[in-house]
């Protein structure tokens, strides 16, 4: 049991730095998946893998750490509420995809490919949706405190955050499914 706890901490720490790195790599190196680059990256993939391996606790911890890493490497803060949500909440909630962890594990062990793909997609949908909601709220805070009064701030935030979260979600589903199906026993 003790061994498991140390392994749990270490594995999540290492996968968080992997997530951080994948975000950097997709900006710096010629790994342009989306023609425009931008915020579309595969940083959420390692978090989903951790969420499915270790459940909600692992996923949320990995997400929280990723936010913290981005914080210590230079945050962009323009409002206290935005700073808190963007760095401490937005990525943590991604880990809630781990709610499906035990069912996915069962499906993988029983080689029910269709079933775990659906479950994994649901988990990614949940995680991405919650992250979208967090960024949507910070967007409202941003436009609310920086744009003139009387503007449709919710609409601005919805469009701005939707344009990268939707492709992010699709990308994550494709990559997570491809990665797990390549080595189901090793990944989950």
């Amino acid at each position: 049991m003790k061994q498991n706890k140390t392994l749990f901490l270490v594995e999540i720490a290492i996968f968080t730095s992997l997530a951080f790195l994948l975000n950097l790599v997709s900006q710096v190196m010629p790994l342009k998946v989306w023609p425009q680059g931008g915020s579309v990256s595969i940083e959420m993939v390692p978090i989903f893998i951790m969420a499915y391996r270790w459940g909600v606790k692992g996923g949320v911890l990995a997400g929280f750490l990723l936010g913290l890493l981005q914080f210590v490497f230079g945050p962009t803060i323009y409002h206290p509420v935005q700073g808190f949500i963007d760095y401490f909440v937005a990525f943590s909630v991604v880990g809630l995809a781990g709610l499906f962890a035990s069912q996915i594990k069962n499906a993988v062990q029983q080689k029910q490919r269709g079933k775990w793909i659906v479950l994994a997609t649901l988990g990614i949908l949940l995680g991405s949706l919650l992250r979208f909601i967090s960024h949507f709220i910070t967007g409202i805070v941003f436009f609310g405190s920086y744009a003139p009064e009387g503007q449709p701030v919710a609409l601005y935030s919805f469009i701005y955050n939707g344009t990268y979260m939707l492709p992010n979600f699709i990308l994550c589903v494709i990559i997570v499914v491809l990665v797990i199906s390549a080595a189901p026993k090793k990944m989950i």
């Binding site: 290492i14 230079g74 962009t76 920086y146």
Partner: protein, 265 residues
């Protein structure tokens, strides 16, 4: 590139701000982010500006580093400025050219809000320019210590952060190696249709993940072998020292807050 990964945006120098305790720097920036929103007239914005300039001056950070931090947000600042200029229609009409009308209130609000934006970016940049990621982690650990009472795993988080920070350059090398190996086998990462590029990511991620699992297992075993068993009674290698400089600068901050409350309208 490697150095960028380890130190983030940290600029190694010797200045009063560099020598400050990370705890007091975090507190300073946190308070600053909150009190910026108190300012609502010319005098209060000037006070905040003077304080920001004073801090920047004391940090001795060359301007080009600050500019690098500002560059990504210049667009946002211009965007908010334009929104205010054209969409706020209060006060006196200052300028009219065809359908373009600029009002006094729009100009005022536009300038104030852009200034607020600049102050916030400059002060948060100051934190990461003068403090290494590991120092910030140590600072956060001690500041968040009271949260242990509500069962928040502060010690574990700090340990995991140090492991993450330590592994960023290592994993960077690993990624680079695997990418080159796969490119040698003919995988195209940067050209071809999107579908092919997506498929190319998988042969990069799988070896990367598998080797990371292995690394994690080895590290966990090594830690166990050296007697790691959680937070209670662990001593620290890096000790934080609170000096009189920290007290003085935080006192400045308190005075600034009081002045802002007195002079705001």
């Amino acid at each position: 590139m490697m150095e960028k990964m380890i130190f983030g945006r940290y600029v190694p120098m010797d200045s009063v701000i560099h020598r400050m305790d990370p705890r007091s720097k975090l507190l300073l920036v946190f308070l600053f982010v909150c009190i910026v929103f108190l300012a609502n007239n010319l005098l209060t914005y000037i006070l905040l500006g003077l304080f920001t300039l004073l801090m920047l001056g004391m940090s001795k950070i060359p301007f080009r580093f600050l500019y690098a931090g500002l560059k990504p947000v210049v667009f946002l600042v211009i965007f908010t400025l334009i929104l205010h200029l054209f969409l706020t229609k209060e006060g006196e009409l200052l300028f009219k050219l065809g359908w373009i009308e600029i009002y006094e209130e729009g100009l005022r609000q536009g300038i104030f809000i852009s200034l607020r934006f600049f102050y916030l970016i400059l002060m948060t940049s100051l934190l990461t320019l003068t403090t290494t990621p590991i120092e910030i982690t140590d600072g956060l650990e001690t500041l968040l210590n009271p949260m242990k009472k509500i069962k928040f795993p502060v010690h574990e988080m700090a340990l995991m952060m140090s492991i993450s920070l330590r592994f960023i350059p290592t994993l960077m090398q690993e990624t680079d190696k695997i990418m080159k190996a796969q490119m040698a086998r003919g995988v195209e990462f940067s050209s071809g249709p999107i579908k092919d590029r997506l498929k190319a990511i998988v042969p990069l991620l799988i070896p990367l993940f598998v080797s990371s699992f292995k690394r994690a297992e080895e590290l966990a075993i090594a830690m166990e072998a050296r007697g790691y068993r959680g937070g209670e009674g662990r001593t620290k290698y890096r000790q934080l020292v609170w000096t009189y400089i920290d007290t003085i600068i935080l006192t400045f901050m308190a005075i600034l807050t009081i002045l802002l409350i007195l002079f705001r309208t």
